[in-house]
């Protein structure tokens, strides 16, 4: 396994409450890693610690290290915006920015100054195609993004995230607010993108984990219970709690 992200002795506190305890795990490159566990187990906290999005929340304290490409993103000299550029997030509910479809996708390239002028049109088309949305919006690129259906909005958010040119895509239950067909759209896109991007997904849906995961982490009450290749874990969970969860006992 070729790890892209290494988490070392990670502890996260919300005020006095400890949300994550001594997490040590490696996340493999260009595969889909699924973080599985019941609600409130710290899945989302772990996910958001991977691009320092936890910093936005007040009263959060993080100790330990998260290494992306060997570099500790919690080191004092690190520029947070660079970290987030490297690891984008697909949120639970899509939040398009208050602007047109085109401007949403062009937002990242514009603020980071990566693509300019005519190339922007090409880039916007490319990322909309990558997210599987181009055919549906090509005639109304300058319409407000809020006019799209919620499923289309989530794919727009995917295109917007991809346009920043990340190496890692983090997904926080990205299909939970969507209808089954839209959810399937997103899942198919994620499977297409595997191999080009390192994808980390949070879910509590067992069947979704089964469909998507190459690698899996199981969390419970702020602890990482076990991690490993998904097939092995589904067939032969090492820990009792994992076995209980996978068999649907809680």
């Amino acid at each position: 396994m070729d790890p892209q992200i290494s988490v070392r002795d990670l502890n996260v506190f919300y005020g006095k409450h400890q949300a994550l305890r001594d997490i040590n795990v490696e996340i493999p490159q260009k595969q889909i890693t699924v973080i599985l566990g019941p609600s409130g187990c710290g899945k989302t906290t772990l996910l958001k610690s991977l691009n320092r999005l936890l910093d936005v929340t007040e009263g959060v304290r993080v100790t330990g290290q998260v290494l992306i490409d060997g570099e500790n993103i919690y080191a004092p000299a690190v520029d947070v915006t660079e970290v987030r550029k490297k690891a984008g997030l697909l949120a639970q509910r899509p939040y398009p920015l208050p602007m047109s479809i085109y401007d949403n996708v062009a937002f990242g390239p514009r603020i980071h100054g990566t693509v300019r002028g005519r190339d922007l049109d090409v880039a916007v088309r490319h990322y909309l195609e990558l997210a599987g949305l181009w055919d549906e919006v090509k005639d109304r690129l300058h319409a407000p993004a809020t006019r799209l259906s919620i499923g289309q909005q989530q794919r727009l958010c995917l295109a917007r995230g991809l346009a920043v040119e990340p190496e890692v895509i983090l997904g926080d239950e990205p299909t939970s607010a969507l209808d089954p067909v839209s959810a399937q759209h997103i899942e198919r896109r994620l499977l297409d993108l595997r191999g080009q991007y390192t994808i980390v997904l949070v879910t509590h849906i067992l069947r979704q984990a089964k469909r998507l995961a190459d690698h899996m982490l199981f969390m419970y009450m702020g602890d990482l219970i076990e991690s490993g290749p998904a097939r092995e874990m589904f067939a032969n969970p090492r820990e009792d709690r994992t076995r209980a969860y996978l068999s649907g006992e809680f």
């Binding site: 691009n51 999005l53 936005v56 007040e58 915006t81 660079e82 970290v83 987030r84 550029k85 984008g88 997030l89 949120a91 509910r93 939040y95 398009p96 920015l97 208050p98 602007m99 047109s100 937002f107 990242g108 603020i111 980071h112 407000p144 993004a145 809020t146 958010c157 917007r160 995230g161 920043v164």
Partner: protein
Amino acid sequence: MTDRRPAWKRRHFEERFFKTLMRVSFLAVAGSLGAILLTVIVKGLPALSLAMLTQTPKGGYYLGKEGGILNAILGSLLLAGCATVLALLIGLPMALYLEIYAPRSRWAGSVRLALDVMWGIPSIVYGAFGFTLMLLVGLRASLLGGILALTLLELPIMTRAMDEVIKMIPKDLEESAFALGTTRYEVAVKVIVRQALPGIITGALLAFGRGIGDAAAVLFTAGYTDRLPTSLFRPVASLPLAVFFQLGTPYPEVRQRAYAAALILTIIVLGVSLGSRLLAARLSRNVVK
């Protein structure tokens, strides 16, 4: 079944009682607005003429029976317009700072408290304060003095209105923007301002309405004159004071002109608020709900 009837009856009565109460409240408000508009129109319309809108007063210092009140119309638009722009330049960054850089901090709390206290200060106090300050620096009643007094009056209204609108923006929207690698400044200017734009416009025009209609704040600070405004350092006329002075005279013709001035003021405020509603509706196409 029979023992449940009294409860049913009571709830039915409650329903009808509160429905009636709401209707009465609505009628009280709508009726007052109607009565105000009717009075101003009935008394002011006969005196309203093209000359009123296009000429300065003639025949009598301050209380001319002929000519128009162009001096007051222009003066009021300048006073309230400039004050609104100034208040926006100070208030918008302040509201953004409160929400994005220092949310829920003790400092933000005390700034909000200060603004709320300022909101409650009567406008005559701003006028008196501005006048004292002007004496101190040797400035006499002038357009500049009036603008500054109105800016102080408008600032808390505008800032708190914008603050409340920005507070309503979902945290997840900010988070989505941060996840793209934006700085706080970029989130503030490129995302929050766009999302809050309809509310910002409403806040600014609410403040404009307060500013243009206020007589007490400009009484000492802007003064009054029959001339058109030409300089920041000369006195300037305003519509509320035109109404005030003209209404206080014993001449019926002049008093009628006061109602015409009030009608013009009402039309300006009405036009501005309708215009702002249309603009806000247009701009809210992009807003994420």
